[in-house]
Symmetry: C2
Subunit: 209 residues, 2 copies
Amino acid sequence: MIEKLQSKKQNPNTRLEKRLRGRPKKFDFSLALEQALALFWAQGFEGTSISNLSSALNMNRPSIYASFGNKEHLFKRCTEKYLAEKLSFIDEAMNEKNTLMAFEALFKKEIELISHGKGCLLVNTALTCNPMNEAIKTMLTEHRKTLESKFRKRIQLAQLKKEVGTKESPATLAKYIASIYQGLSVQTATGATNRGMREVVKIALKIFE
Amino acid sequence: MIEKLQSKKQNPNTRLEKRLRGRPKKFDFSLALEQALALFWAQGFEGTSISNLSSALNMNRPSIYASFGNKEHLFKRCTEKYLAEKLSFIDEAMNEKNTLMAFEALFKKEIELISHGKGCLLVNTALTCNPMNEAIKTMLTEHRKTLESKFRKRIQLAQLKKEVGTKESPATLAKYIASIYQGLSVQTATGATNRGMREVVKIALKIFE
DNA sequence: AAAATTTTATACTAATTGGTATAAAAATAT
DNA sequence: ATATTTTTATACCAATTAGTATAAAATTTT
């Protein structure tokens, strides 16, 4: 009974945010963002309409605009969330103590991430688009470049420590790793199994043995 | 003067098709299809509207529908054209006399094909989409699987001829090759140069040396 | 209890989407 | 010349797009 009274009209935000004055939100901001991310991830930027989002988040349109801005802005927030929460393993993998372990960890975690068949958000959601949405495509492209440069830095470090040969440049090796990473993102959208992808990685990483 | 009279109201189809009864088409069917392919290739399936096509092909909408059917059907025709005209090099490459040469040829030609930065149509135009357009995504996926199976068959042949080791299965090696192929398609959309991609291929094909 | 505040829900906008009906235009066949 | 055929161009369709104005609802503050 006491419990029931306490949980009466419990707002998801109550515990986190200080209760504001007006009508309480019926949605949890962070959960809604996660649901938006899931939908964009599955359907791409242009494949997802505000109406789709409205249904999926159980929010009416004015609430979406009030909370997240327009479609482009919402997608950017989702991408940031994706980078912070889903791709955090990349920095962690790059901290492994040798190159082989670093990229083994990278791909192990990537395969877990993309095993649902939707691939990597940075790769699969807007490789091409209407000129109107060029900014979205460019943003994703920049993020992919950033990933590649993280690979490059890791390889540069390894070459300094003489841990890896210097025959190929770090830039080239990084591009090779990025190609595999992106290739797997397409592979999972082509029906590849986790096992199949792990075997691809095993071959791909032979160059570091 | 004579030339001018001869070329008066020259219809592009005149030479090929028997002149029909009614008002002549103002467009060349094959050219229009090529322009449609170029637009879908650059903007993706969902990023290309019938209005976009109408402008690009200089055809009004009823003419597009009359000539090519609806948007989905037109995209399928473009994909078929793409396979027949742009990806014909794949079968040719698979006919090279050894595995290394086959895949060297494959990637050399692929890089030429995608060097405009739009990647491979099968990869870059609808990796994700609205559920409404699922059939398009599925069609492209099937074509990607077909490519991979061509790689697999080539490797099976090579293993029979003891030309390549049997440590990894043809299926796995084919998936590895397909991953590189698809990875390069993303790479060119990420700003990679032809030279950069060629260097990636050089590393990738070391396993066949 | 009343005022203030904030979110919700409904209903709207103008533009665009994929797709088509209709009639004029431009050719050939008779 | 006239009829026939085919394409073009205009104008439309219903549905959906992204985005917003407005008022009711639900809360806290006074």
